[in-house]
């Protein structure tokens, strides 16, 4: 079955993201963790945009947007964020 004009998500991550990933230490750490903790860099996957955060207890949090990104500001800068 063909879906004209629609690509496969096999290589869904953006090239920039892939380049960053190649220098990463792991999927949830070592990827410019200070920036990631504040969600300052938006990554992409297919039609998604997403930002990574680290909660106050060290657990990972990822927020995804589809289409137009929303303002990603945390509540009161979020005490759960590093």
């Amino acid at each position: 079955m063909a879906f004209p004009d629609e690509g496969s998500p096999v290589s869904a991550r953006s090239e920039i993201d892939q380049a960053e990933r190649e220098g990463a230490d792991g999927p949830s750490g070592g990827r410019g963790a200070a920036d990631d903790a504040r969600g300052e860099r938006e990554e992409t996957y297919g039609p998604l945009g997403f930002r990574r955060y680290v909660k106050g207890d060290g657990r990972a949090l990822i927020l995804y947007t589809h289409g137009e990104p929303t303002d990603g500001g945390p509540v009161d800068e979020g005490p759960a964020h590093e």
């Binding site: 079955m1 063909a2 879906f3 629609e6 690509g7 496969s8 998500p9 096999v10 869904a12 792991g26 999927p27 996957y45 297919g46 039609p47 998604l48 997403f50 909660k55 207890d57 657990r59 990972a60 949090l61 990822i62 927020l63 995804y64 947007t65 589809h66 289409g67 929303t70 990603g72 500001g73 945390p74 509540v75 009161d76 979020g78 005490p79 759960a80 964020h81």
Partner: protein, 305 residues
């Protein structure tokens, strides 16, 4: 950290995650930990006033690094939504989130099998009503996908492909179809309203799907979820599991993407319990023929459109 043991009589793993005994249990909606954090309100798991889809590491994990992973996927910031009532664009985005998490978790050395699932309803043990699913990254290949791979060997090829052909030839148990998938109550369903949503093309995982297939997968899952709710005119409890290829080990990449629903209801008020024959002999005894339940579920899906 959980402890893994092996039940030698059944040749299956058992995981002891005793810290989960203390997890949040059916909180009042004003204390829902999966709602967004409102300005001035108590902080939830998601410290933002609004969000689309959120994924975070489970506070009470059954698996965690360096032996696997456990994540929570929150479908929406709206507490009263469900998989069936999400806007179609949001449901499609959820398919991409599933794909992204499958890819990232599956790349980890301590994860051999990624299972995406949703428990819906207190009947299946849900402790939080906010619409969400979960992802387990198993550090081993669990028994069910192992059996599915054994079925491939037994049937001499992809078992889901063969079973789909049989269901299409028979036709009586099909409840929904679109260009990318077929949903049916399988010939030997274990649960009265068990349904399998099978990709027509052989795709080992979400990663091999075309974008249009992901959109149609979302359409199919939503149609089925709405049909379930229509069937008995009540929120329909179920366990939904996304079956995909293992991501490591000798069987990595072998499998056929499909989604299975295991609903415990046999009537509007009566549950199907796993009792003596099911637990002691591994033999389901059902009160409903799949052909009959397929007819009523198929009608319910049409009424819900």
């Amino acid at each position: 950290m959980s402890e893994e043991r092996r039940n030698e009589l059944r040749d299956e793993p058992v995981v002891y995650a005793i810290h989960r005994q203390d997890r949040t249990f059916l909180p009042a909606r004003e204390h829902c930990p999966l709602c967004p954090t409102r300005p001035g309100g108590e902080e939830t798991e998601i410290p933002f006033p609004e969000f689309e889809i959120a994924v975070f590491e489970n506070r009470f994990p059954a698996f965690e690094a360096p032996r696997g992973a456990a994540e929570v996927v929150v479908y929406t910031d709206r507490h009263d939504d469900s998989l069936g009532t999400l806007e179609p664009e949001r449901a499609e985005a959820l398919m991409w989130v599933w794909s992204e998490r499958y890819e990232e978790l599956g790349a980890r050395e301590d994860v051999e099998y990624v299972m995406i699932f949703e428990n819906r309803g207190v009947e299946v043990g849900v402790t939080l009503h906010h619409p969400h699913g979960q992802i387990y990254g198993y550090p081993f290949l669990p028994p069910v996908p192992r059996l599915e791979l054994a079925a491939d060997a037994r049937l001499g090829g992809c078992a889901p492909c063969a079973l789909l052909r049989r269901e299409l030839e028979d036709g009586r148990r099909i409840v929904y179809e679109n260009e990318a998938l077929v949903a049916y109550i399988p010939y030997a369903a274990r649960w009265p309203y068990e349904a399998h949503v099978m990709l027509r093309e052989h795709r080992p995982s979400l990663l091999e799907c075309e974008a249009g297939e992901l959109r149609l997968l979302a359409d199919g899952l939503q149609a089925l979820a709405r049909g379930y709710d229509m069937l008995f005119d009540r929120p329909f409890p179920y366990v939904m599991v996304v079956h995909q290829a293992p991501t490591a080990g000798a069987s990595a990449g072998a499998g056929h993407l499909h989604v299975e629903f295991y609903p415990p209801l046999r009537t509007a008020e009566k549950l199907k319990y796993l009792a003596g024959s099911e637990q002691g002999a591994g033999t389901f005894v059902s009160d409903v023929l799949p052909e009959e339940s397929a007819a009523s579920l198929g009608e319910a899906i049409l009424r819900a459109e």
